[in-house]
C-alpha cells in the first residue's frame, strides 16, 4: 500500500492563479481531510469528507473548494490564490471504528503564493 499520496510536493503560484492539490489514498478509507500548517501553528482543518459525494467545511474553508467523486480521491482547489494561502497542505484519511480512529497523513504539499 502506498497509503496517502499527494501531488505536487512543491508549487509556487502567482497571486490570482488557481491550482488543484491532488490527494489519493489506497486504504479504502471513507473519511478524508485537508489541513494547512503554518509555521509555529497547529494543523487547521480546511475541509473534510465522510464518503464519496459528501463534503463539509472545516475551520478555515475560505478560498478553497473540494470534491469527492470517488473513495480514493479528494482534490483541494484553490481559486484566486492569495499570499495568505502560503502554507504546507496535508491530506489525511481515516477509517473510524465506533467513531474512533487515527488519521493517516500524506507527505504534504508546500505552496508559496507570491
Amino acid at each position: 500500500n502506498a497509503g496517502v499520496t499527494q501531488t505536487p510536493k512543491f508549487r509556487i503560484l502567482k497571486i490570482g492563479q488557481s491550482m488543484t492539490l491532488q490527494c489519493t489514498q489506497d486504504m479504502n478509507h471513507n473519511y478524508m481531510y485537508w489541513y494547512r500548517q503554518d509555521p509555529g501553528m497547529g494543523l487547521k482543518l480546511i475541509y473534510y469528507s465522510v464518503g464519496a459525494g459528501i463534503t463539509d467545511k472545516g475551520e478555515v474553508p475560505n478560498g478553497y473548494n473540494v470534491s469527492r467523486s470517488t473513495t480514493e480521491d479528494f482534490p483541494l482547489r484553490l481559486e484566486l490564490a492569495a499570499p495568505s494561502q502560503t502554507s504546507v497542505y496535508f491530506c489525511a484519511s481515516s477509517y473510524p471504528r465506533d467513531r474512533v480512529g487515527e488519521q493517516y497523513f500524506g507527505p504534504g504539499t508546500r505552496l508559496t503564493v507570491t
Binding site: Y35, G40, K44, P96, R99, G101, E102, Q103, G106
Partner: protein, 113 residues
C-alpha cells in the same frame, strides 16, 4: 472555542532519560485524545490514542495519561534516544461521528547523545 496548549519551547533532554510532554485543553470534553509524531518536511504519524475512560495507555517505550478533571494529557518517552527527536502533536477528537481532530501546536523534542 476549544483551545489546546502544548509546551511552546523546545524540550532538550539527555539520551536515556525520560521525556515528558504536556497537553492542556480548555472549553472542551473530548471523547478521546491522540498523539502524533512529525519529522521535518513530513506528515504527522500516529503514535497513541487514549479514550476519556482510560487513565493510561502504553506502547513499548511510550506512555500516555489522560486526566479529564485536570483537562490534561501527559506523553512520556522512556529511555529516550536521539532518534526520538521530533515534534510531537497532541490532538483532540470533536465532531462525533466525523472523527475530526483539533491539533495543538506541538512540542519539539531534542534528545542529546
Amino acid at each position: 472555542s476549544q483551545k489546546i496548549e502544548q509546551n511552546s519551547e523546545a524540550l532538550n533532554i539527555q539520551e536515556g532519560k525520560t521525556a515528558t510532554l504536556t497537553c492542556n485543553y480548555t472549553n472542551y470534553s473530548p471523547a478521546y485524545l491522540q498523539w502524533y509524531r512529525q519529522d521535518p518536511g513530513r506528515g504527522p504519524v500516529f503514535l497513541l490514542l487514549i479514550r476519556e475512560n482510560e487513565k493510561e495507555k502504553r506502547k513499548e517505550r511510550l506512555k500516555v495519561t489522560f486526566d479529564t478533571t485536570l483537562k490534561q494529557s501527559l506523553f512520556h518517552i522512556t529511555a529516550s534516544q536521539p532518534a526520538d527527536s521530533a515534534t510531537y502533536l497532541c490532538a483532540l477528537a470533536y465532531g462525533g461521528a466525523t472523527n475530526k481532530l483539533i491539533f495543538g501546536t506541538g512540542t519539539l523534542l531534542a534528545v542529546q547523545p
